[in-house]
């Protein structure tokens, strides 16, 4: 699709305008899944396994069923016979996953039985009365242990704890390593963190026996969700209706409660009662299957004296926990930006996904890109330290230059556009880098540990899911479309219809702004609604920072069809050619003859009720749909494993200043600037909000958040006492500096930004801390960087051998 207009010439796009969603959220009028109250609705609570690995010897539900107010106790035996296993993305059919364990439990917290009762409190009382006899079996928690011979197998039928292993070589890697002057190895470890929205996952379901249809309301953010729910429940797709007009209280990737939904859907149909499950925090953290990447990187880099990077070898071992849906694909997205924003001609990549007896992993903001960016950025800093080179200089030397776009990387993706040097310079200017260096050095002279961290990272966005066929050749998905309907009613009011839920990304603002831009009508007056899954056009949900590109492109396409129709109506009635109609603010006139004009209201009236004034061949009524395919998508991987996965590449440059109290080892983030280029911003407030939140999220991953396990397989950070989210006290003032390099591939030059901030913050903070530790020759490459870890490094430096 061609550019709509030049980037500066927009009327509504890029303007600071009130978002459509704020009024209802700020005034407490959102409608979340916990607000869904169906008549006679029953409530679910779950019996969870206390063991990381065990055989279920027996389950006695008699006492629980006898409790007044209890309607049913469902166990895996019945459930697994009546439903099909949940979809798995990689080629591992024997790694069967159901909502309830059947005969075997594979992680502590796995659901063993579900109780349905009049209230959630009664259901929890009944949970305590379910007697389960277990026979514990050997478990494995450490992913490196899990891949060794003789390790307990999480799924013996699969034959191995490796659920995915690939080896890719793009470009002359061996030659580059053989010829390079320097080589360096590095192990970087990304801790098991996630996104933890305030709202846990929730789902309500109701079976209509008369219509034979299952209605579902859920706090969902998941591609193919209605389809997967129907398949698992052995229902035709048109017997499941997902209501997308439910506000989702944050997701950032993890709100994929397919196992919750199949369970609740089954119960609602089985019992003939509306049933709801709202996870409590304990269920969410331990059994909600929402942990994020847990990844060990072994990096090797070949480089020259002057810091020029020649080749990169990346081995990534990801612990996906006890089951997998799409989570191993999080090793696939980084293929699309495998060399980061740098000119690296040869890359070897060996991703391995490992099963362990831990809570399963789910998609998290960036879909594996944030850990990969962290490993690449740590590698850059290690090269710089090795060469005694400035970390900014090594980046400037290796960053792709503005005149090199579109830029083809070895793994087959072409970066659409960018000006990485300009964004980095803007960030450095905003923080006054020379003054910052002086401040750091003065702090060091005063005895403090002080460091500056730089990270320059990519945000691939708008993807076509091309990592699926790359990682699983049995999959041949090549489309990942999104769509929009625009209609103008008889009163002339405009409505945009989208077919998915939102979890805070502001899609109503996006759609109304885009439609308003194209039709030249006030976006504040445009309503945006969400069709249910049986009425909606195809959508792949807001994942992969894709909606500005995909839903924005679809809304623009549909609005343009409406505009074209209005112009045709005008030409027909003004008896002129289409080309000579001038469309302005919704009114149409003959170019050069402003008196020969048909206003908006009259155009609408003709379209709706005056077929005698309609041009032949044009449908009456004003409604248009547009389905948009991912730009550059549509291809399967080539024989050499190259593929274009994501079309657009936003860029972020972080500059962080940290001080560490040498005596207490407590780190404090003193200054934070993020330079950001996501092309044309449709709503700057939304982009800035997402970036700010992404940085806060990255601070969590860098310093605080970890789903930590004991050696005996118990999650020891299952509450907010121990899983530490950064609060307002831990997030410093953040300055975001905008830059705009329009994408040549999208409607308005926009790129995605939903994962902004998070994709670079952990890398920048880790680099800042390591800069602070450099004077004492300390280094930490494991996230999160805790006080205790810092103390060990500082102590080691202070008294070697202690």
């Amino acid at each position: 699709m061609a550019q709509e207009k030049n980037p500066g010439g927009f009327r509504y796009i890029g303007k600071q305008r009130r978002t459509k969603e704020y009024p209802r959220f700020v005034t407490g009028r959102g409608r979340f899944v916990a607000d869904i109250a169906l008549p006679g609705m029953k409530h679910v609570a779950l019996v969870a396994s206390p063991y990381p690995s065990a055989r279920i010897v027996s389950i006695n539900t008699a006492a629980a069923r006898a409790l007044p107010g209890v309607h049913y106790v469902l166990t895996g035996e019945e459930f697994c016979a009546a439903t099909d296993a949940l979809a798995i993305g990689v080629d591992a059919p024997k790694v069967a996953r159901y909502s309830l364990a059947n005969g075997v439990v594979r992680y502590a917290g796995e659901w063993v039985a579900a109780v349905v009762a009049d209230t959630r409190a009664i259901a929890e009382d009944a949970v305590e009365l379910v007697e389960v006899e277990y026979e514990p079996t050997p478990h494995v928690i450490d992913p490196e242990q899990a891949i060794k011979d003789g390790s307990p197998l999480v799924h013996p039928a699969h034959g191995s704890n490796i659920i995915l292993k690939k080896h890719f070589v793009w470009g002359p890697v061996n030659a580059a390593f053989a010829n390079a002057k320097h080589k360096l190895v590095l192990r970087a470890i990304w801790g098991r963190s996630s996104t933890v929205p305030i709202e846990t996952f929730g789902v309500a379901a109701q079976w209509d026996a008369g219509q034979q249809i299952l209605d579902i309301w859920a706090s969902i953010q998941m591609p193919k969700f209605p389809d997967q729910a129907a398949r698992a429940l052995r229902l035709p797709g048109n017997a499941v209706r997902v209501h997308f007009d439910v506000d989702v209280g944050g997701s950032y990737g993890v709100k994929r409660g397919i196992k919750h939904t199949v369970l609740v859907g089954y119960l609602a149909r089985r019992l003939g009662m509306p049933v709801r499950l709202i996870e409590d925090r304990l269920e969410n953290m331990r059994g909600g299957d929402m942990h994020g990447p847990d990844r060990i990187f072994d990096m090797e880099v070949a480089f020259d004296d002057d810091g020029t990077l020649r080749a990169l070898k990346i081995r990534a071992l990801d612990d996906v926990g006890a089951y997998a849906g799409r989570s191993p694909f999080q090793l696939g997205k980084p293929v699309t930006a495998i060399c980061g924003p740098y000119r690296i001609a040869a890359v070897e990549y060996e991703p391995t996904a490992v099963l362990t007896n831990k809570t399963p992993e789910e998609a998290v903001r960036g879909f594996g890109q944030a850990p990969t960016n962290f490993a690449i950025e740590r590698t850059l800093d290690c090269v710089a330290r090795h060469l005694k080179m400035d970390p900014i200089e090594i980046r400037r030397r290796n960053l792709i230059r503005a005149n090199e776009f579109p830029y083809l990387i070895p793994s087959g993706s072409t970066y659409d556009s960018g000006d990485y040097h300009a964004v980095l310079d803007k960030a450095l200017n905003a923080i006054d880098y020379p003054a910052l260096v002086k401040e750091r050095d003065a702090a060091r002279r005063a005895g403090k540990l002080a460091g500056i961290g730089i990270a320059t990272c990519l945000e691939p966005n708008g993807g076509n899911s091309g990592f699926e066929p790359l990682l699983n050749p049995k999959t041949d998905t090549t489309t990942w479309m999104d769509s929009c309907v625009v209609r103008v009613d008889l009163s002339g009011a405009i409505t945009g219809v989208m077919g998915t839920s939102s979890s805070g990304q502001g899609h109503e603002t996006l759609v109304s702004t885009v439609i308003g831009e194209v039709l030249e009508r006030e976006p504040a007056d445009i309503r945006v609604v969400r069709a249910d899954s049986l009425q909606a056009l195809p959508s792949n949900s807001p994942v992969g920072s894709r909606m500005a590109i995909m839903l924005g492109g679809a809304a623009a396409g549909a609005a343009r069809k409406i505009k074209d129709t209005l112009i045709e109506i005008a030409a027909h009635n003004l008896q002129c050619t289409i080309e000579s109609v001038e469309y302005s603010d919704g009114n149409a006139a003959v170019r050069g003859h402003p008196d020969q004009r048909i206003p908006w209201d009259e155009l609408i009236a003709i379209a709706h009720r005056k077929i005698h004034q309609m041009p032949p061949g044009i449908e009456p009524g004003l409604q248009a749909k547009f389905v948009w395919e991912v730009p550059t998508g549509g291809k399967l991987p080539a024989a050499d494993n190259t593929i274009q996965i994501y079309p657009c590449y936003s860029f972020e440059a972080h500059v962080v200043y940290v001080e560490i109290d040498r005596d207490t080892a407590a780190p404090v983030l003193r200054k934070y600037v993020c330079g950001h280029d996501c092309g044309v911003m449709i709503s700057p407030d939304i982009v800035h909000g997402m970036t700010y939140g992404g940085i806060a999220h990255g601070i969590g991953a860098a310093l605080y958040e970890k789903f930590s396990y004991t050696a005996d397989g118990q999650l020891e950070s299952g509450t907010f006492m121990d899983y530490l989210l950064p609060s307002a006290m831990e997030v410093p003032t953040i300055t975001i500096v905008d830059h705009c390099t329009p994408s040549p591939l999208t409607t308005f030059g926009q790129k995605g930004s939903g994962e902004a901030g998070y994709l670079g913050a952990p890398a920048a903070i880790a680099n800042a801390i390591n800069d602070a530790l450099a004077p004492i020759d300390g280094r930490i490459d494991t996230l999160p960087i805790t006080h205790d870890a810092l103390w060990r490094v500082i102590r080691g430096a202070a008294s070697p051998g202690d």
């Binding site: 304990l282 207490t664 530490l724």
Partner: protein
């Protein structure tokens, strides 16, 4: 996270509260601000058969000041304690410590007596009670008794309160020396969390900067927060030079027996104990000596 079933009674007076406690025996809990109790009940870590709500008992909410003592009713909200300027002039450590207790929202609800009776080993107010040698007046149907803080705290979440007893009020000694300073600090991974290690001190000095009176303590390093009166006594007459300070704080840290957990190893806690004890003693001394 729904509490197990329980009865709820709102007591109109302390007499009624004590009577309800006596009737019920061991399985009843008083609820004041509920900032610790309700999450523990929701997670079913504790499951009292009955809650006696003392929030409406006005007689438990007061701050009374005289020359030597500040008396505070057990059900006085933490935010009220922190906001009282006359109290802060006499017992400044309370306000200093409260800045570290949870967040504004929890302090609006949480009470002074609730925090003391809950006795988390890393909580701030129990440490202040130990360091200032507060006395705690306890009421039951058979009368009242008063315990010094050193006898009140017994172990993690365990105090000398019997099941039928109610904490009624707390006496805080007022240091009348003109040149008195105090300090409170702690390290936690995030602000508002329970401390990895916390420390506080109060010191009075003469016009030459010689220490006349000193008290300090550490929390988070064992089963209860501890004051170190014997070590503090060795500071009397000194000007807290570095060598003296180092000896005292290292001895104090050595008396701790911290555990290791997810957030901090025992070694780190011991290290922090000496560091933070030094900092609060130095800060309290500087504040005291800085007064004209």
């Amino acid at each position: 996270m729904k509490a197990a079933s329980f009865d709820y009674v709102r007591a109109a007076s302390i007499t009624e509260a004590c009577e309800l406690l006596r009737q019920d025996g061991g399985d009843v809990k008083l609820i004041a601000g509920g900032q610790s109790l309700t999450p523990m009940m929701a997670m079913r870590l504790t499951r009292p058969s009955r809650l006696v709500d003392i929030n409406e008992i006005d007689a438990l909410k007061f701050i009374k000041l005289d020359n030597n003592t500040a008396r505070i009713g057990a059900c006085t909200r933490q935010c009220v304690v922190a906001a009282d300027n006359a109290l802060a002039a006499r017992v400044p450590l309370l306000r200093r410590a409260l800045a570290w207790v949870g967040h504004t929202q929890t302090r609006n609800r949480g009470t002074l007596g609730g925090s003391l009776a809950h006795a988390d080993p890393a909580a701030e107010l129990p440490l202040v009670a130990q360091v200032l040698d507060a006395r705690l007046q306890i009421r039951s149907t058979s009368g009242t008794r008063t315990l010094p803080a050193s006898e009140f705290f017994i172990g993690p979440l365990t105090t000398a309160l019997e099941a039928h007893e109610c904490l009624e009020e707390i006496y805080w000694p007022v240091w009348t020396e003109h040149r008195t300073g105090c300090a409170f600090t702690e390290v936690s991974r995030r602000h508002g969390d329970f401390a990895i290690i916390e420390a506080c001190a109060q010191i009075a000095v003469d016009a030459d900067g010689r220490c006349m009176r000193a008290s300090f303590g550490l929390g988070g390093g064992g089963t209860i927060p501890l004051a170190f009166p014997a070590l503090a006594a060795t500071l009397i007459g000194t000007q807290l030079d570095d060598a003296v300070l180092k000896g005292v704080t290292q001895d104090a840290a050595a008396e701790l027996d911290p555990g290791g957990d997810l957030h901090a190893s025992a070694g780190y806690r011991k290290h922090l104990a000496a560091v933070l004890a030094t900092r609060v003693l130095r800060a309290a001394y500087d504040e005291a000596y800085g007064k004209a």
